[in-house]
């Protein structure tokens, strides 16, 4: 089985978010970049297939040279090779088109991605890739089994779960549940050494028509201080929620 895992290179979850150039650019100063947490679930599930059923794993990212350490980390975790599409990932639709172009020229049985990236939170790339290629797609995927060319996947729905079945090729947008969090992998020394020798191919971009662009960023307005209520006076909380916040 040939698996492609889409990797987004994002600011680590504790990053303070700031903007520069009159709030038009993200300030990456001092920000540590990591594999997007949702993509880590996808990569770990790919490793599971590799170990249980045999699979060849390619990781791919759309970005400039700065995303390469993140791809190397995925290789250190156990992917076999990596592809970087040399384009700036500013528009989800463009990212999807770049990925679809690479996928069209190769044959992958399974394309695994995370349900959204924790920077732009677009939640669009996996579904768009699937549609551009007319593949099946399961969003918010919390379980995935493959038997020959048949897949059984579960997705989270509001207040429950739906089990779906379909033929491969399939695109999955994964989240927590796809694998247990305790099974997420940290690269070890041997993995890191081996990753240096694994192939990382650079593919040139094929699309330049964007559909969206960020004109500016904003931070939420600073909030007023928390009103403290005495622990012996919970009626006061009820009173405030009723009369001031008008919620209950």
């Amino acid at each position: 089985m040939k698996i492609l895992v889409c990797i987004s290179h994002v600011p680590d979850t504790t990053s303070k978010i700031n903007f520069t150039e009159n709030n038009t650019k993200f300030d990456s100063n001092g920000v540590q970049y990591v594999i997007n947490p949702y993509d880590e679930f996808a990569l770990t599930r790919a490793m599971w297939f590799k170990e249980k059923q045999g699979a060849n794993i390619t990781v791919i990212s759309v970005g400039d040279a700065s995303v390469e350490p993140t791809l190397r980390k995925a290789l250190a975790i156990g992917a076999d090779n990596a592809i970087r599409v040399n384009a700036l990932a500013t528009d989800g639709f463009v990212v999807a088109k770049e990925l679809a172009e690479v996928i069209k020229n190769n044959t992958y049985d399974l394309i695994l991605a995370g349900k959204e990236s924790i920077d732009y939170n677009g939640g669009m790339v996996p579904g768009m890739v699937a549609t551009l290629l007319d593949y099946n797609f399961v969003n918010a995927c919390v379980n995935l089994e493959i038997e020959e060319d048949k897949a059984t996947a579960s997705r989270e729905i509001d207040g429950g779960k739906e089990v779906l079945s379909c033929n491969l090729p399939l695109v999955i947008a994964g989240q927590k549940g796809l694998v247990e969090e305790k099974d997420l992998r940290i690269p070890n020394m041997r993995g890191i050494m081996m990753a240096r020798k694994k192939p990382l191919t650079i593919v040139e971009s094929t699309t330049n028509e964007t559909t969206t662009a960020t004109t500016s960023f904003e931070k939420p307005a600073p909030k007023s201080a928390c009103k403290l209520i005495d622990a012996d006076n919970v009626e006061e909380l009820i009173n405030l929620l009723h009369n001031e916040a008008k919620i209950i």
Partner: protein, 320 residues
């Protein structure tokens, strides 16, 4: 020209969020000086949409659409959009809305902005404000394609009545065939879900163990709220994963979020930032949650929560 909204229904009935997307769509249509068309699938109370400004309701009834098949629905939205010459398509940000939206965007070769929190601030260029960086910031996103797809973040716009004398029209789109089949649906029975709840009561590691969740459940039941938890709580198996809220868990955009024994780590706050009012109960006055909350009680959950339940019951009885 028109604005097209897909109003989702469950067992024939619309969800509150459907009225929110219709309210939003109505206003966008007004901005663009065009009509609002609402597409419904197997809904039974289509006339209720007139109250929120739906001038025209395109109704699809088809047994084959009893379960939500993303490819089929995306294709139906495309057919409706083409028929109605829709300029803007507005979708919900519930599980189905987020599933179908990117497919609709590709089908119509349209730019897509998810997590929109406000009406377009400008029409030409078309700019809409959306949540980004896991609720730590917003970006103003310019959509440059002729057709635009927007998914509206829950509880970010509101439900507004704007009664019109609408009309309904049966619509029989072509149903494409797919091999993506729904095998089963497992619904957590009866309880309010985090996605639908107006109030969420959430517990953290401060509650010490799963045996102490009874008081969280009771508080939730008094408030008709959903229950939730922090990540370590679900990692430890005290509560189901479906209750884990935060950056890597579920987002909560309720009117009220009550955090009990939760420290307020940045990743937790990222998931609940869009809740309107936040209450924290924590023994540690230095807990970061106090910086994010509107109301706070420094105290032991095991003493405060039972008292709160008792007083709320009294309040409910007096205000019934």
């Amino acid at each position: 020209m028109s604005v097209l909204v897909l109003a989702e229904s469950s067992k024939g009935k619309f969800k509150k969020s459907s009225f929110e997307v219709v309210s939003y769509g109505k206003k966008v249509a007004e901005q663009l000086e065009t009509n609002l068309v609402v597409l419904t699938i197997n809904a039974t109370e289509n006339e209720t949409l007139y109250k929120y400004g739906a001038e025209k309701v395109l109704t699809v009834s088809n047994e084959a659409l009893a379960t939500f098949n993303v490819k089929i629905i995306a294709n139906i939205v495309k057919q409706a959009a083409e028929k109605e010459k829709a300029q803007v398509i507005v979708l919900d940000s519930n599980a189905n809305g987020l599933y179908v939206a990117p497919l609709v965007a590709v089908n119509l070769d349209a730019g897509y902005a998810s997590n929109a929190v406000a009406l377009p601030s400008s029409l030409s260029p078309f700019v809409v404000k959306r949540k980004a960086f896991s609720n730590k910031a917003f970006n103003n996103s310019e959509i440059s394609t002729e057709v635009k797809v927007i998914s509206l973040a829950k509880n970010s716009y509101g439900v507004f009545e704007d009664e019109v004398s609408g009309t309904s029209e049966n619509f029989s789109p072509e149903i494409i065939s797919t091999n993506l089949t729904s095998e089963s649906i497992e619904q957590t029975t009866g309880k309010v879900t985090i996605a639908d709840a107006d109030i969420v009561v959430s517990g953290g590691r401060g509650l010490k163990g799963p045996e102490n969740w009874e008081m969280i459940e009771e508080l939730a039941s008094v408030l008709d709220a959903a229950t939730a938890c922090s990540k370590p709580v679900s990692d430890l198996g005290w509560r189901p994963h479906s209750e884990h809220v935060g950056q890597t868990g579920k987002p909560v955009a309720s009117n009220l979020y009550i955090a009990i024994g939760i420290s307020g780590a940045i990743q937790h706050l990222a998931g609940i930032n869009s809740s309107k009012v936040k209450v924290v109960i924590n023994t540690d006055p230095e807990a970061p949650f106090f910086k994010a909350a509107d109301y706070g009680i420094v105290g032991d959950a095991f003493e405060v929560v039972p008292k709160l339940i008792e007083k709320l019951k009294e309040f409910k009885a007096n205000n019934a």
